[in-house]
């Protein structure tokens, strides 16, 4: 199979960045929905969304999408927005495109112009790492209709979302067929979107809770058959763990360029800062970390593109990629910060370092420690949670 032959990630990332660079400064200051629409006005950004909605495969579309996300980061679009785009693209739209009933089909136009926002509501306040313990439940009435009750928390984009991909138990017993996946419009009676949390990481995208208070659900709201929620959850989380860290690739590349330029031009003691081997070696470390994240994420993209391994079989590798990239991003930001001096902690200095975002990366899409247990279990260790 020759899926990725025509895709040149560097060219695509550069083109996307060029589309966005002139307007990059206007992002992150105003309304999230407005920022989202502005982002989707860029042709490359919108085209990658269109691929995911149509489920077009076989031509390196996933590699292309990662390159577009890289380009968004390279352009200097705020990290939270870049993350939100990658999250909706890889964590929701691509997994749903594989569902035969095409649940997003009625919404394609409004998703493409950014007027409709999605969120992926899985985590609950009592924990997100053990889906079989979830309390949100859809219960069937005698007349065959369903009623959904429960609360999801820490959901990216929830305060603004128009359409909610969520998971609920459809059986009270704890077993692998107890969960189902649902796609619920946020304006349906009983759906209550909470106020945005005062989050410290990836602040340009809001995060919040969603309550389902006696929401009427029909069979048409089920993404896949009753009881198959865990199978779909395995798909969405594998997509996320494989590709969500694409959001950091362009950001790291941009920071590396900034550091190189700054340390070449900024003089201390009569010499450029970068003439110090101590400083220069730290920049080399940044390059290594950026290279590693880039290589790992693009490798996952290529493997998904060529379809030689079914996605579910990539779940352990995806977990390793997510852990590795989150760790590398945190180390990257920790090294980069001091190179810029005080500017690293001034929000509008142009050199601000997003260490909170890097810490968040070790938490979302399955905490790194939980994923370690999953990896160890896959190796055959008798490890329990």
């Amino acid at each position: 199979m020759t899926a990725t032959i025509s895709v040149d990630p560097a060219r695509i990332a550069a083109a996307t960045s060029a589309e966005l660079s002139e307007i990059a400064q206007q992002f992150g200051t105003g309304d999230y929905r407005q920022s989202w629409r502005s982002l989707l006005a860029a042709p490359s950004v919108r085209a990658a969304f269109a691929d995911s909605l149509r489920g077009v495969r076989g031509g390196g579309q996933i590699t292309n999408a990662v390159a577009v996300v890289e380009g968004i980061g390279r352009a200097g679009i705020p990290a939270g927005l870049c993350y939100a785009y990658a999250s909706q693209l890889f964590g929701i739209q691509w997994p749903l495109s594989f569902i035969a009933s095409q649940p997003l089909a009625p919404y394609h136009e409004s998703l493409l112009d950014g007027s409709l926002l999605l969120c992926h509501a899985l985590t609950e306040e009592t924990g997100g790492s053990d889906p079989l313990s979830m309390r949100t439940a859809a219960t069937r009435s005698a007349d065959g209709s369903w009623q959904l009750n429960g609360r999801k928390a820490y959901v990216t984009a929830a305060p603004a979302a128009d359409l909610v991909l969520t998971f609920a138990r459809t059986d009270a017993a704890r077993h692998p067929f107890a969960l189902s996946s649902l796609l619920i419009p946020a304006d349906r009676p009983g759906v209550v979107r909470g106020e945005p949390f005062a989050k410290l990481a990836l602040t340009e995208v809001p995060m919040g809770a969603i309550d389902f208070d006696g929401v009427s659900v029909t069979d048409a709201d089920f993404v896949s058959d009753e009881g198959s929620g865990l199978a779909f959850l395995t798909a969405t989380t594998t997509w996320e763990r494989a590709l969500l860290m694409s959001y950091a690739i362009g950001i790291m590349g941009r920071t590396l360029e900034q550091a190189t330029e700054w340390l070449t031009s900024r003089e201390q003691f009569g010499h450029p800062l970068g003439s110090s081997p101590l400083v220069a070696s730290r920049v080399a470390d940044l390059a290594i970390l950026a290279h590693r994240v880039r290589s790992l994420v693009y490798d996952m993209a290529r493997r998904i593109d060529d379809e030689s391994t079914p996605l579910r079989s990539l779940s352990t590798d995806a977990a390793m990629v997510k852990i590795s990239c989150a760790q590398d991003l945190l180390q990257f930001q920790t090294i980069a910060g001091p190179l810029f001096g005080a500017r690293a902690v001034i929000a509008d200095s142009g050199f601000a370092i997003d260490a909170s975002g890097a810490i968040a990366a070790s938490i979302y899409a399955g905490t790194n420690d939980l994923l370690r247990i999953m990896i160890a279990r896959d190796l055959g260790l008798p490890v329990e949670n």
């Binding site: 067929f177 009881g227 079989s313």
Partner: protein, 96 residues
């Protein structure tokens, strides 16, 4: 996936399904369980979520294509025979 690929890869016997289920259970529980076509695997209590996901992943690798979520429901995982029939149905639908 080319037409030729799917013709080559989309057959699986009920014995192979038994072997996949047995191996997945053994991998998770450390116990080698004999799984026959009519073994009520759901009732054994050995089908936890990781085992289930591993069985689906292994089946997908074996038949060389993705299986739909709708296949992964309790009624299809009652026995290897029901699972085998469900995989056959899914492949039949997809190749048409």
């Amino acid at each position: 996936m080319t037409q030729q690929d799917s013709q080559v890869s989309t057959t699986i016997t009920v014995e192979e399904v038994c072997a996949i289920v047995s191996a997945a259970i053994a991998r998770r529980s450390g116990r080698a369980e004999t799984v026959e076509p009519d073994t009520e695997v759901l009732l054994t209590g050995l089908l936890d979520s990781l085992t289930l996901v591993n069985i689906v992943a292994e089946l997908e690798e074996r038949v060389g294509q993705r299986l739909p979520e709708n296949l992964v429901v309790a009624r299809n995982f009652r026995t290897p025979t029901t699972l085998h029939a469900a995989v056959g149905d899914a492949l039949g639908v997809q190749s048409r």
